[in-house]
Amino acid sequence: MRHASFAQWSNQSSVIHQLDARVKLVLLITFVVSVALLREHSQVQLAICFTFLLGVAWAARLPFFRVLSVSLLVLPVIGVFALIVYLSGDHARAWTILARSYLSGFSVIVAVSTTPLPQLLSAARFFRIPRMLVEVAGLIYRYLFVITGEAQQMQIAFGARAGRPGLRAIKASSGMIAVLFSRSYEKAAMVHNAMCARGFAGELTRMEFASLRTIDLALITGGLALELALHFA
């Protein structure tokens, strides 16, 4: 699964992996904003951004072709929107939007593949994103794999019983979701008990960040300068 690959790739020890999550979060957001603000005909700048992301992926020693193939999976989603623009007769804009959206998606993939999501969420918490939102997002990420696995098992079991379209299938699917809900509810109670046993007092312990080092500040400044330079190239 895609997210399982991200989790696996994000636990490496390359130079990029070791960077502070706050630096990566700032650079990711500013990079996406910068790409969005590029002028209409900016093929050279888009090519530079793509090369830069490939360079980061290479420096992070990510499996190059697998990362590229995963990044191509964003194309069907954005392709539908780009097709709408293309069909409306604005061909140049459709291609530009497709390229920019792909770059945004690719930059997120590179960031998530080089930073464990809990660290990214902690960095978001550092930047005053509401505590509860960050904690809920973290818990969703933690239990996503568990509950999705159960849902897949149910789907396979339903398919094995020759589930066919019709009212019975709709009832069966509703029943599956209800069972999944019931199991999730029980799991939530168990998780809460386990958390209490480990000293949970209403707030999850968060990752403590040290002060930003000079190298981190230099990276942020350099990154912002490069992103700014793209607009004057």
Partner: protein, 314 residues
């Protein structure tokens, strides 16, 4: 409905992000107040549950299938604040892990689905929660939630200067409507199954089984008032109705769409007139009233079928 990055113009995404940030802060604070600390794992697990539930497809025939979106379901189970927070968290995880929806477009997606979508899903369900029409309320909630989110996404794209032809807009709206009805049906069906399986677990709206005296007294008055208003509008309102073409027709005329082409099917109520009576006030009012009765019958039949589906679990 997840808008990717770069499809919204800078003023649109920046404004929506600017609105979403304080709105999410308020939602988060309210959810924190309304939620006991022991429900924090519940919110996380429920978010994961909605993710997983979205993987379960509902075969709807003609080789297609739909899936649950979950905003209304969460609002019914967790309450609106917690539901909005959980949907926001889901959107963040979807943008980061699945690249479903953009980072800059997160504000737009949060407003469409987590804030306005949940509100429109919750209000009808809450309004009818203490009546015997609770299922209809949930159905309306699910339908409104998806429809409003879809229409908002479409409007934002149009505002951003994405040129879409009128037929394309019509097709998009049609698809949203189909998905919306499906969401309503799935939500009713799932809540019915949940109630049957574990009534105590479904807190909030769906556990509120007993109707209060006030609600019981209010309901017939509401039905009678709405019915009278509809009949008056259909019968008399047609006299003051504009004869100018609507927006889509006007646009079609402007761009030269063949709107005057002969129809494929001949309906007895074509152009809101009873063809047999000619084109006068009685003909138009009669057509309006017949339309009203037909809509009522379709809704009654739909509610009856949904009621049967729900009863089959108990």
């Amino acid at each position: 409905m997840h808008i990717p990055d770069n499809f919204l113009s800078t003023p649109v995404w920046a404004t929506l992000d600017g609105i979403a940030i304080p709105a999410v802060a308020i939602v988060s604070r309210q959810a924190q107040r309304a939620t006991e600390s022991n429900r924090l794992p519940l919110l996380g697990v429920m978010g994961a549950f909605v993710f997983a539930a979205q993987m379960i497809n509902f075969p709807v025939g003609l080789g297609t299938s739909g899936h649950l979106v979950g905003g209304t379901l969460l609002a019914c189970v967790l309450g609106p604040w917690a539901a909005a927070l959980v949907i926001t968290a889901i959107l963040i995880v979807q943008a980061l892990i699945f690249q479903d929806g953009g980072v800059l477009a997160l504000g737009a997606n949060v407003i469409n689905m987590a804030l306005i979508g949940v509100v429109f899903g919750y209000l009808p369900a809450r309004a009818l929660s203490r009546t015997k029409w609770k299922g209809v309320g949930v159905f309306l909630g699910g339908t409104c939630s998806v429809l409003v989110s879809g229409v908002l996404a479409l409007s934002e794209l149009l505002l951003s200067g994405i040129r879409m032809s009128s037929p394309l807009v019509a097709v998009s709206l049609g698809l949203f409507a189909v998905n919306a009805v499906l969401e309503g049906g799935i939500t009713v069906s799932v809540l019915g199954a949940m109630e049957r399986l574990d009534p105590s677990a479904a807190r909030g709206l769906i556990s509120d089984r007993k109707g209060t005296g006030n609600a019981r007294l209010l309901w017939p008055k509401l039905v009678v008032s709405a019915g009278l208003a509809a009949v008056t509008l259909a019968g008399l309102g047609i006299m003051v109705a504009s004869t100018l073409p609507d927006g889509v027709q006007h646009l079609g005329q402007k761009i030269g769409l063949p709107l005057a082409a002969p129809p494929t099917l001949h309906s007895p109520l074509r152009d809101y007139n009873i063809q047999a009576l000619g084109s006068n006030w009685i003909s138009r009012a009669g057509a309006g009233l017949i339309g009203l009765v037909l809509v009522y019958l379709i809704c009654a039949l739909g509610s009856h079928l949904l009621g049967r589906t729900r009863r089959s679990y108990s």
